[in-house]
Symmetry: C2
Subunit: 333 residues, 2 copies
C-alpha cells in the first residue's frame, strides 16, 4: 500500500505476504487505555506510539491479499488500526468471518474478543455450578452482559452493578439478570451487596447476597473489589478480567485492603487474558451463533458513527458513558 502523488494506492507491493483492508467497525475496549502508558518489560500488550494510529480489534474487508488464507472480498476480524485503510502484515490472530447472517459489528463484541473473554472467563476460569450466586461488575458492558446471561443459562442467581438507571434497567429487563443496582447511588457498597429487603403483601423482594457470593466476575477493581471480598462465600472464586476503574488514574491505583479474606474464605482469585483461549474460538462460535439466532442471548451495542467520533467514544468508556458494547462505525461495506 503506497501513497503516490497524494493518491492512495490500495494495492499491495509486489512480494508482500500481508493484506490491505478497508476498516468497517473498530472496537473500543477498556484495555486500550493501558497501552497509552509506557509498558515496561515483557507484557501481553505493547504501548501505542505517539503519532501512529491506534491499533485495536476491528472488522474489515480485504481489498488485496498476498497471503493464501485471505482473498479480496473476505471479511475478517482481529487486530487492525484506527484509519480508513490498513496494511496488515501480522496475520496471526485474524479470523475470517464465515457467518454474515448476524450484524458484522458483532465480531467486535459478542462474536469477537469480548465475547470469547466472557465465555472463557466464565466457563473456564470460574468453574460455575448450577444454583451458585454470581456477581458481575460493569455488568452492562461488552463482557458483563454476556457473562450474566451465561450464568442465567446455567441456572445461577445473577446480580450486576452498573452506573446508571438506564443500564440497570437493561440488566433487569433485557438481559434477564435477577437483580441489578446502580453503584453510583450506593454510599455503602459492602452493605449494598448484602442487601435483603423482603416485605410481603404485594411484593417487594430484592435480595442480593445475604448469604454471600460464590463467583465474582471482576471488571472494575478498587473499592468494588474490596466490598466484594467482604461478601464472598467460603471457597468462592474471583475471575479477574479487568479493573476499568483504575485504568485512567494517573496517580497510584487505589489500594485493595481486604485481601485477608482470601485466607479466611479460601478464595481462588485468577487473572486471565483472552489470548490464552483463542484455541476454543471455533467451539465458542458453535455455541454462540445458535444462541444469537434463537434469541437466547441478547446483545446491546452503542455504535458511534465515523472515525472522527472514535476518540470521544473510546474516552467515554472510562466514565461509563457507553450503554452496551462501544463500537465505532468507520464505513459500511
Amino acid at each position: 500500500m503506497q501513497v503516490i502523488n497524494g493518491t492512495m494506492n490500495l494495492k499491495l507491493q509486489e512480494g508482500s505476504h500481508g493484506i490491505v483492508v478497508k476498516n468497517l467497525y473498530l472496537s473500543c475496549d477498556p484495555y486500550m487505555r493501558s497501552r497509552m502508558t509506557r509498558v515496561e518489560g515483557p507484557n501481553v500488550f505493547t504501548s501505542y506510539s505517539p503519532g501512529s494510529p491506534l491499533t485495536g480489534f476491528g472488522v474489515a474487508k480485504v481489498l488485496d491479499s498476498g497471503h493464501p488464507n485471505f482473498k479480496k472480498g473476505d471479511l475478517i476480524w482481529g487486530t487492525t488500526s484506527w484509519e480508513e485503510y490498513s496494511l496488515i502484515t501480522v496475520l496471526e490472530g485474524l479470523f475470517k468471518i464465515e457467518h454474515t447472517d448476524v450484524p458484522l459489528s458483532y465480531y467486535t463484541g459478542i462474536l469477537g474478543m469480548p465475547g470469547l473473554t466472557a465465555y472463557a472467563g466464565f466457563y473456564e476460569v470460574c468453574s460455575p455450578k448450577k444454583g451458585e450466586y454470581v456477581f458481575i461488575s460493569a455488568a452492562s458492558g461488552a463482557v458483563g452482559q454476556l457473562v450474566g446471561q451465561f450464568a442465567k443459562l446455567m441456572g445461577c442467581y445473577v446480580v450486576g452493578s452498573a452506573g446508571s438507571k438506564e443500564k440497570v434497567d437493561l440488566l433487569r429487563n433485557k438481559f434477564g439478570f435477577d437483580e441489578a443496582f446502580n453503584y453510583k447511588e450506593e454510599t455503602d457498597l459492602v452493605g449494598a451487596l448484602k442487601r435483603s429487603v423482603s416485605s410481603s403483601l404485594f411484593l417487594s423482594v430484592t435480595w442480593y447476597f445475604p448469604e454471600g457470593i460464590d463467583i465474582y466476575f471482576e471488571n472494575v477493581g478498587g473499592e468494588m473489589l474490596d466490598a466484594v471480598l467482604l461478601n464472598m462465600k467460603d471457597h468462592g472464586r474471583i475471575s479477574v478480567c479487568g479493573q476499568v476503574s483504575q485504568y485512567n488514574i494517573l496517580d497510584q491505583p487505589e489500594g485493595v485492603q481486604n485481601l485477608m479474606c482470601l485466607i479466611y474464605k479460601r478464595i481462588h482469585m485468577k487473572g486471565f487474558v483472552v489470548f490464552d483461549y483463542y484455541n476454543i474460538y471455533p467451539k465458542f462460535l458453535d455455541v454462540m451463533l445458535p444462541y444469537i439466532r434463537e434469541g437466547k442471548i441478547m446483545y446491546v451495542e452503542d455504535i458511534a458513527e465515523g472515525l472522527e467520533s472514535g476518540p470521544a467514544a473510546l474516552v467515554g468508556l472510562y466514565s461509563g458513558r457507553n450503554v452496551g458494547k462501544q463500537v465505532v462505525l468507520f464505513a459500511r461495506e
Copy 2:
C-alpha cells in the same frame, strides 16, 4: 475439674466425656492476633473473650479422661488453653502423639499445625515443579523455613526474606535456601526481588529473580505483596498463607495496588487454611518423621520458658523478635 477449698481437683466430674490435661508447650502463632479483634459473622476463627485464657495450639499430657480415645498418660497436641491445666471438652482436632523420639515441642511446629500448613500450602496449593523459582516471605518463621526446605527438596531455586542478619544467615546456612535477604535493609523491594549482581573473578554471584517468580508463598502482605506482584512470572502462583505485617495494624490494612498484574500475568492467587487439610495429617507424618530423623529437614525453635513469658513471646511475633518457631514451655513432663 474443680477447685475445692483452694485446691485444684484434677479429676473429671462424673459423667464428663472430656479430658483433663497438663499443658506442656504452647504455640505462638501469628493468626492469634486476629482473634483479639471482634470477628463478625461466620469465620474460621472465633474471637477471644476478655478475662478468659487464650486458646491455641499446644502439646499436653492427659491426666484424666472420660473419652475412650484418650487415657491417662497420653500425650496429645491440638487446641488447649494458656493455663497450667485445662479441661478440654471439644476433642475433635486433638491428635494423639505416637512418636516421642523427636522433641515434644515439635508438635507445636514442624509436626503440628505450622508443619501441616507448610506442607499443604506448598504441595497442594502451589502445584510446584522442579526447577521453578520460589520466593518465601517471613521465611525463617515456623512455616516459611519448612516451605523453603520442601522447595529445595523438589529442586526449586529458593529465596527467602526475613528481618535480621541472624535470620538471613539461618536461611542461607541452616535451611539451605539458595539466597536470602533482610527486607528491613531494602529501600526498594521491587528492585531487591529483581536483584542480579554477578561479578566474576573469585565469585560474588547473587541473583534472586531477574526472570521473575513462579511461586510466591505469601506470609506477610502489604508492601511485600505489592513488590512481588510486579516480579511474578506469567502463570505464576501465589499461595496466601498469612499476612503478618497487617495483623497488628489498628487502622486500615495497607492497600495492595498492583492487582492488575493478576490479569496481565494470569496469576493464580489462592488463600487457604490448614483445617481443610487435616485429613492428610497421617500422610504428612509419614513424610516428615523420616525427614527429621534423617536430618533432611532442619528446624529451629525459639523457646520461651514459663507461662509468664508467654505474652511477650506472643507479642514479639508481630515485630519479628522470634528467631524460628516461637514456643512457650509451660512445663516439662
